[in-house]
Every structure is written in C-alpha cells, then in structure tokens.
Subunit: 488 residues, 2 copies
C-alpha cells in the first residue's frame, strides 16, 4: 500500500474554483487563486531566506491575510509549522522555540520585544515585501501521515508539550465536521478565534478543503461579529461561551437571519443560562467537545437536542469513537470515568516525547484525562476537564504550569492553583502559596514575579498566603480542596 | 502507523442519527436504526447459513430494501461482496462466480433458472425470513485498505476482470463527491440505477455516510422519477443520457422545484441536444466521468460551465489528480492522449490478476485507456472511451467480449464488433463475421447462438456476413473501420 496523498490543498482549490472568495476581512477580499499566488510568492521568498523542506518554522502573528499566506506558503515548501500563542510571555515563547527545534521564526514588528531572544533567524512579516524570490519544488501532494503543525499544550505535569497534528488529522477533522454540519457552497465561516489555536486554524483549512469563504476579524468585537452575520452572509461561527454571550448581549433583541445556521460552541462547558438564551433567541448553537490533540471538535450536539440533552457535548463525529474508562474497564452507561477517543483526527503524538505520547495514546485511543459519562442513548456529558484544567476566555490554563513558576521563586515553598468562576472570563486562576518565612513577600511581589514569565491570562487574579495546603496521604496536592481555604 | 479504521458505517449512522429516514421506496420508508437492525438480523442468519469473515459472497438481486440489507449485513460479518449484473447470461454469471471464488450466492427466486448451475451454496432471499440466527462478532470498524466489493468489467482483452473496491475507495469517493456537490441535511438521492453498478451502489454508501435518504425505485420509470423530484423532495438523482432524456420528455414543459439541485449525469458522453435541453429547462446537470475502477465519478462539471465548456466532463474531485499521457510523456494543454487518474478512490486492483493490475495501475496512477485532453483551464474533455468501448443504455459493452463468443462458434472464423448510434440506447453493438464456408450459417443462427451466452444488451443488433475484415499490417482488427463496410 502506498501512503495516501491528497493534492496540495490550496493549489488544488485554486485550480478547481479559482474565482470563489477565499478570505474576507473587514476591508478586503481575495479569491482562492489570489491566495494561492500570494502563498506561492511568499514560499519563494522564504526559500530565498533559507527555509527548506522538513525545516521547523514558527509563526507568532495576529490573525491576518498575511498570516494565512505564510501558513500555506510553509506547506508549499514542506515545512513543519509551530503556531505560537501571541499571549505567551517572552520566556514561554523562548521555551517553545527551543523545544520545537525551530529553525526560523516568522513574526511581526509589534512582537519585536517579545521575541528579542530569537534574533538569529527572525523574519518580520513587514520585511517580506522587499525579499527576493528563489524557486523551489512545490509540494504537489500532502501525505496523510506527515506532520503539518505543532501546537503547545500543557498537561497535569505543567511541562508544555508540542502536539503534532498531521495533514491527515486536519483533513479528517474537516471531513468529520462536514459530515455532521453539512456543507453548503455559499457557507461563510467567521473566524474570531486566533489561528494559533486549533479552533481558528481549522477554519482556514475547512475554507480551502470545502471551497468556502473564511471571514476573518483580527480580534473579537461583538458588534462586528454580529454585523458579519446580519449583513455579510456569515453562516457559521466558531465561538466560546464568553464571546457568544457578548454577541447575544450586543444583539439586543434582534434575531439572526435564517442563513445563519451554526454557532459552534467550544472551549469548555457552556453555562446553562447561555444555552437557554440561545433557545430564546433561536440561535442554532452546536455544543462541541474537542482539544488540540484531536485537531478540533470530536463530539458535537445538534440544536435539536439543546433542551432534551442540556449539558451534553453530543455524539461523536462520524469517523470518531468514544468510550468511558474506569480503572481500565469500559464504564456502563451513565457511569463516570475517563473520556477516551479514537479516530483519524487523533494526534500522531507529542513532539520528541515518546513517553508522554505512549502514555496518552494507546492503540490509537487518546486518554483525554477529562472525566465524563455517556448516557443510555450515547450522548457524552463532560463533567470535568482534566480534573484541574481552568478555561479562561476559551484559553486553557493549567494549574501545574503556574505552580511551577510560583515554586521557582526562592521564597515560595508550596503553591497550589485552582480556578474560580468569573463573570467575564468564565473562570480565572487563583493561587495559594506558603512562604519560606512570614512576611518575606506580599501578594503584589508575587504577581510582579509572574509577569513576563506567564501569559497575562495565566497570572493568578488573587494570591492567598496560607500556612498549609490540602494534601492527601501521599502528600499529593488536592487542588479541588484549595477553594475551601477561602470559603471557610 | 496503524491502518486507518472508520467505525462500521451503518452501525455508526444508526447510532448518530437513528430516526432519520435511510431508505424510501414507493411504498415504504425505514430509518437508519431499522436498517441497522434488519442488517444485523440478516447477518446473524447468514452466519447461521455458514457465512463467515473473509468469505466471498455474491449477490444477484434487483434493487430492493432487502438487497440493501444484505449488502450491509455482509459488511457486518466482514465478507467480500461480489455484485453481479442481473442482465448477464447464465454462462457469464457462472464464469464470474468461479473467477471470484464465491462461497455463497444470494439471489432471488426469479433468478432460479439463471443461477441453476450454482446450486451448492445458493440462498434465495425469499427463504431468509425462516432462517434461524446465530451470533457472530460484528465488525466494529472498517479498515480503509480492506476489499469491500468486487464488480466485473471487461477491457480490451474481452476477459472480464473483477475490480476490487476497498472500503477506502468507497469512502473517499463519497467524500470527494460531497466536497464537490456539497452536503445538505435534507438531501434525498434518487437511485434509478442498479446497485450492482458503482453508480447505484455509491448512492447507498453516500446515504449512510452522509446521513441522507436514498429514494429507490426497482427499475427506471420516467414518470415515477419525476414524481420523486416534484412531490417527494428528491434533491439529487444519478442518471445516464437515456434516462435523463426520457425524464425531460415526460416532464412535458413543467419545471423542477428549486430543491432539486443536481442531476448527476454519467455513463458516457452526453449528447449536445440533451445538454441544451437541460439549459432550456433549467435542470442543474452535472456531467461526470468515472468508472468501476475509480469507485464512481472522479471528474465533474458544474452547471455554471455547462455552456462555456460544453462537452467537457469538468475538473477532478478534490482528492483526485488527472493527467494526459502521450507515449509516456505528459501532454500539453489541448493535446490528446490517454487519460490517467490518481487518487484514494482508485481501485486497489483486479482480483487475482496481478499482471492486469500492474499494467493498469502504476504508482497509484490508473491508465484508463480512455482518450481525451485537458484545456488551458484544466477542464477534461473525453474524446473516446477505451477506443472501442460501446455504451448502451449506460451499460458498458466490450467488443472483444462479444467477438470471443462469436469466435467460439465452430463455423465463424473471424469476428469484429463495433457500436452504432441508436435513438433509444445511445449505442448498440453490431457484428461483422466471416464464415468458414459460405451459407453454412444465417444471421438468425448467430443471434440464437449468442443467447444465453451473452447478456441481452450485448447481443449484436445486426449481424453482417462479410468476406474480409479490416486489419492493419500486423493483422490487428481495426474496429473503427468496420463501420465503413456497411457505409460503402
């Protein structure tokens, strides 16, 4: 058997439907043929700049057409692309660049300070127009097995790991989604989520694979998002609870047109009042469950079940299987356990982490660490994301990662982080610390210490100095009991 | 890398959307859950009857819900299914059963005479209701590489070959089609083509993979086909020129509703007057090019190009690549040559014919034997199907196969078959023969001799007794020159 190869996505799309609109921003639209031509030019320029097949190139950019062109250009050359979160601190970025063995960083002038440590092979997008071009051999086909992108995610260990997403992972994710949501030639998918997250990147890929328009906004603005739906034909939007809530507020009683057929709601459990508001305003909300390791959604709930299965994430996409495991045994319906998923969109593994890979992925089954159950009819209910994961404004925040930073301070001897509810962000992290000596630090000192080391959204919103942290018999931190320290 | 596995299609579909209508006939509809339950029951019965995983089982049946249930049941067990053309003669059926090493034949009472030679493991569908059941292990997933079905096709040699279609071939065909035509949740696909042909079978698979309704008619009836579109919500229909022509005639000036979004026109080149009639009646006709070896369509022309690219079969489906080869070199645009296609829907090969396989499929590229060119914009124009292929009412007729039968007569020393235009069938075969001795046979004798040996549609409509057949210097029959013998 030869490996499955798919024609170069953008090149094939530009050949099949050259004149359809690929990308629409607030001020500009470009067709698939134009996008292809721009990507090809950038690929020639990057070749001139020394990028070659099988290199690892990182991108640290804000959502823009240029960023999309670079993403495709790197595929034309056959590069593995690392997508960096723009909210990360200098130190976090440096760590990911080193860990991924990045050969070149493509970024923008506004991130000059943030990436100053990587001055060796740093290319600013603003400098590209003047770069000469050099011919190279365009990748005519993409191999299903080849690594396309790497996105970093942390786990319970606090050490970020590079999730490798193959061309096949992305392809099957797009296909699985289309078999669930359908695919209309006039679809327009609004991207208000960053492309360095899988929820954003997957929109770009779907646009090219489906031949539909991706409408992109640089950041999230509720009015602009609503305008895109009300005036500019957007039919699908990917949202998290925070953004959807603001959009409904901004809507102020108006209703969306019928052409708007899907609000794909991911990034953590949806609050019940939000789902009820969606029903009230007839918003076709599809709750989803997915993660970086599954190259986007794997489980989705159709609006027809919004009420009867309130709180459920739905059923798996067609190519996906799920099971609930409890002490290595498959749980009965309605019995809680670890959510385990299998399918061709499950990541091929963590970059350079064979141990972490074989621990998380066994015989193709991904052990998510999330807790949930499946009801009698097969609907998944997610009860707890990775036991201690905090989701703040759609961003994953791992307590262990913050604790590791806190513990790196010479005067902090113990640290525990947990999430508390927050009206604006859903959840925010708070920290509990034990000092080496009473009064040696105050909470402002601790916050100041975290700045630069942690992305802003990871910096604890409150710091509590305590005498002792809740631990079990084997002295393992009981993060869920932390909250009792302030409730009491 | 582990092999890509997809959950058992019908089982997964019945789990995901149990209550959607899977099949609708003129008198009955069944949901996906019912279809699954029926298929499971039949699989249990077939297990009782001795069928087991990796067996080869042939089906000779007319389109019906029962046939669909059997097709799925065999997949549940993990059987390779041979789909037999009901129009074949006794001898042809016997040949295919032997060649495919079939363990069991599932047929219906009306084909008792036709299959009398295979009385050992013959199961009549009418006898199934009384068969006991026996449990077996349901195939929970389908491996992309595994052979699912075998369909026989002839080539220039006249010897039919069993085209193996893997689960992956069918899967990718369905996906490629959805990326081209889109996928609407309320789609209903009308099947008036037999399920033993890939054009029919692929509708059943799409129904299950997409979660849409297959509307099935036992045979073709223009009024019923039009009613299905006008009254029963059919949105897509697969047709050949002959059937579409009759549907337009029966329409008698009425227009189809807007919900009817695609007439997928395959089975040979479309006559220009038919395409013009489609434009006149605003029928969304998509011309296609495909074959058994590509598990259905690989090239499709959207209606927007019906006029500007009249006569073209269109551009490839997203996962497919095409090229035109001329003496081993890729032809220039507008230059004719052999049509060569590559993609994950290209057959894994001919059953038990490694030589024929390696001759037809090289490095994943299928040499179709068809002649055509690609224009400046990449549109394919098919000029000649396999040089000597006759397409009669959508059925492929291979001259060499008929010639072989004619030459098996002791008094026929030379034979040549070609196609002539026919108002009703598009083309029909005619034969030219040379006798061992003048007057030893008349044309009626020859027709009588063919009956039972050849399917009715392959029996020459006229027989011409001639003194000499046109041959080239190396004495190779020049089939295209045959027609001159009667034109002169």
């Amino acid at each position: 058997m030869t490996t499955t190869e798919i024609p170069n996505w953008l090149e094939q799309r530009a050949f099949l439907t050259p004149d359809r609109i690929a990308i629409k921003t607030e001020t500009k639209e470009i067709t698939f043929l134009q996008l292809h031509n721009h990507a090809l030019k950038k690929a020639n320029q990057l070749t001139y700049a020394g990028v070659k097949k099988n290199d690892v190139v990182a991108i640290l950019m804000k959502n823009s057409i240029e960023m999309i062109e670079v993403i495709h250009a790197l595929k034309y050359i056959g590069v593995i692309t690392v997508l960096l979160n723009t909210k990360l601190s200098n130190q976090e970025i440096e760590w990911q660049l080193i860990d991924s063995k990045t050969n070149m960083l493509i970024t923008e002038a506004s991130f000059h300070e943030k990436t100053i440590h990587f001055d060796k092979n740093r290319l600013f997008i603003e400098d590209m127009p003047s770069l000469p071009e050099k011919a190279f051999e365009v990748e005519k086909t993409f191999s299903i097995e080849k690594t396309d992108t790497i996105m970093y995610t942390s786990g319970t260990t606090g050490q970020p790991k590079g999730v490798m997403q193959s061309y096949g992972n992305h392809w099957w994710s797009a296909i699985g989604s289309s078999l669930n949501l359908g695919l209309h030639q006039d679809d327009r998918w609004l991207a208000i989520v960053p492309f360095f997250h899988i929820s954003g990147l997957s929109i770009l890929y779907k646009s090219v694979i489906y031949g539909i328009t991706a409408v992109i906004h640089e950041g999230f603005d509720a009015k602009k998002a609503n305008d895109a739906i009300m005036k500019y034909g957007v039919t699908i939007v990917s949202v998290v609870s925070v953004t959807l809530t603001r959009m409904i507020e901004e809507l102020a009683g108006r209703t969306y047109p019928k052409s708007f057929r899907c609000a794909l709601l991911g990034g953590g459990p949806a609050p019940k009042p939000l789902l009820e508001a969606c029903i009230e305003h007839q918003i076709p909300v599809f709750q989803t469950y997915g993660m970086t390791e599954t190259a986007s959604q794997v489980v989705t709930l159709s609006p027809e079940y919004s009420i009867s299965k309130l709180g459920s994430a739905g059923k798996p996409l067609f190519p996906v299987q799920i099971k609930i495991e409890r002490d290595g045994i498959i749980a009965e319906p309605n019995e809680s356990g670890e959510i385990v998923v299998k399918g061709p969109n499950v990541s091929i593994g963590y970059f350079n982490r064979p141990d972490a890979t074989s621990e998380a992925i066994k015989d193709g089954w991904l052990y998510t660490g999330d807790i949930g159950y499946v009801d009698d009819e097969g609907f998944l209910f997610v009860q707890d994301r990775r036991s201690d994961l905090i989701i703040s404004g759609g961003e994953n925040v791992y307590p262990a990662e913050i604790e590791a930073i806190l513990l790196s301070h010479p005067h902090i001897t113990e640290a525990g982080v947990t999430g508390v509810e927050d009206k604006q962000w859903g959840q925010v992290p708070i920290a509990f610390i034990k000092l080496a000596e009473e009064g040696i630090l105050n909470t402002d000192d601790v916050i100041y210490f975290c700045e630069g080391k942690l992305a802003r959204y990871k910096i604890p919103k409150s710091i509590y100095i305590v005498d002792t942290l809740p631990r079990n018999a084997s002295n393992k931190l009981l993060r869920r009991k932390l909250i009792e320290l302030i409730e009491g």
